[in-house]
């Protein structure tokens, strides 16, 4: 599993003031903690700052990359902010841009960035008709988007399809709709990655971690190979490792055993 650590996001409590106040120590500490917990990418998002976003995103990229060895996931719908972030990005391994969609304006604006910089990209399954409603919508929009990206020269392994998770709290059928979409897209495109903002599934419900954890395992069994989540949740990180092993992605159970021996697994 490719884990994208989600904690540096100004829509989370306390983060907006930390970014506005350029609290370097706070941000770097949060980045380090996620890396230590096993995050493969650190997401940086300051979308709530609107006009100040480009400058703040550049600062976040510089601030975070100075202390972590893992690459970043630069997260914004705003092409100007993404460009500022990418210009500042120095890591050897490619960043992920989060995200492009099939909305015509956004696609036109983000695509040049994918070509100009060596990056992977999260492809959100939404288009000019808005958010997807069911599995079929997700599959159709994602398929069109992936085909367009490939036709425009983007390598399949650089695409992370995000089927868009919506809360089961507002639609109890959302679980199977998303799982079916993941399944179909995985079977259609072997090299592709599938990621998601996992915790949306439990929005508005009590004991959210339990739903997040269960859904991670269910989705992994259908082809999810990445997730944007809180890597400080030890239980969910353990489930990701155990899940990979159970799905046959771990030779001689090496990863699992190593994690157990280094005390990284929580029951």
């Amino acid at each position: 599993m490719i884990i994208i650590g989600e904690l540096i996001n100004t829509s989370r409590e306390g983060l907006e003031s930390a970014v506005k106040g350029r609290d370097k120590e706070f941000i770097q500490n949060l980045a380090k903690k996620q890396e230590d917990a096993g995050a493969d990418f650190i997401d940086v998002n300051c979308g709530t700052l609107i006009q100040e976003e480009p400058e703040a995103l550049e600062w976040l990229v510089k601030t975070v990359q100075a202390v972590v060895e893992v690459p970043l996931c630069i997260d914004s719908p705003n092409p100007e902010a993404l460009k500022r972030g990418l210009e500042a990005y120095e890591h050897e391994e490619n960043a992920i841009i989060n995200s492009i969609t099939a909305e015509s304006e956004r696609y036109e604006q983000i695509l040049p960035l994918l070509k100009e910089y060596d990056v992977s990209v999260v492809a959100l399954a939404m288009d000019d008709n808005g958010m997807p409603k069911n599995a079929d919508d997700r599959i159709n929009v994602a398929t069109n988007l992936v085909e367009d990206l490939i036709a425009d020269g983007i390598a399949m392994e650089d695409i992370y399809v995000d089927p868009i998770i919506q809360p089961i709290g507002t639609d109890v059928k959302m679980g199977p709709e998303i799982l079916n979409a993941i399944d179909t897209i995985t079977n259609k495109y072997e090299e592709i990655h599938i990621t998601c903002g996992l915790s949306n599934i439990s929005h508005g419900l009590p004991k959210r971690q339990l739903l997040n954890q269960s859904f991670l395992v269910l989705a992994m069994s259908r082809g999810l190979d990445s997730a944007i989540l809180d890597p400080l949740d030890e239980k969910i990180m353990s489930l990701a490792i155990a899940g990979d092993t159970l799905l046959g992605n771990d030779k001689y159970c090496g990863n699992y055993i190593r994690a157990a021996k280094s005390d990284k697994l929580t029951i």
Binding site: G47, T48, I50, P77, G130, M131, G169, T170, G204, L205
Partner: protein
Amino acid sequence: MSKNLVELMADLREDEALDLIKSQIEDGTNPREILEDCKEAMQIIGDRFEAGEYFLPELMLSGEMINDVMEIIKPHLKDEEEDEKLGTIVLGTVKGDIHDIGKDIVAFMLDINGFEVYDIGVDVSVQEFIDKIEEVDPDIVALSGFLTTVFDKMKDTIDAIKSEGLREDVKIMIGGGPIDDQIREYTGADAFGDDAMEAVAIAKKWMGE
């Protein structure tokens, strides 16, 4: 007796509440009184949600319950003389966002507080807002959005209202999860509200109530 209905509704005991309303109507209770009870119950439900006692699916259930109540009561309201409306409101969730729970509750609360509400749904384009404003000439336009990515769409909508020369004719309020005064300023709205009660208070203030 009417306290009982408030309690039943606030506790989300829909079937019992609906039965009680039906028998109240048969007994000749003024449907306006029943509506007052609904209003009180919705406030309690909102408070419980705020306090973390109720969760999102329960809020949705309350919305469904209100719809069912209205279906029973509406035919009886028509017999009465229509009250003078406080004002007219066009309400919708902006393009790119399909969140409707908060918007529906705001629509209901404005409705039972005496406003004529045109709820034009979710994922509403700039043009749809303009068309509706031109059609019904509202006093107030209310834009809803829950995602952090919709601020620009709210701004676009308000800019379009300006460029169509309609801005002077309407007051504009915005609301939704992450909305605050910074966003209000950015979008060019006149006010923002954190919940349905605030939406009602702002609308009443604007109409000089």
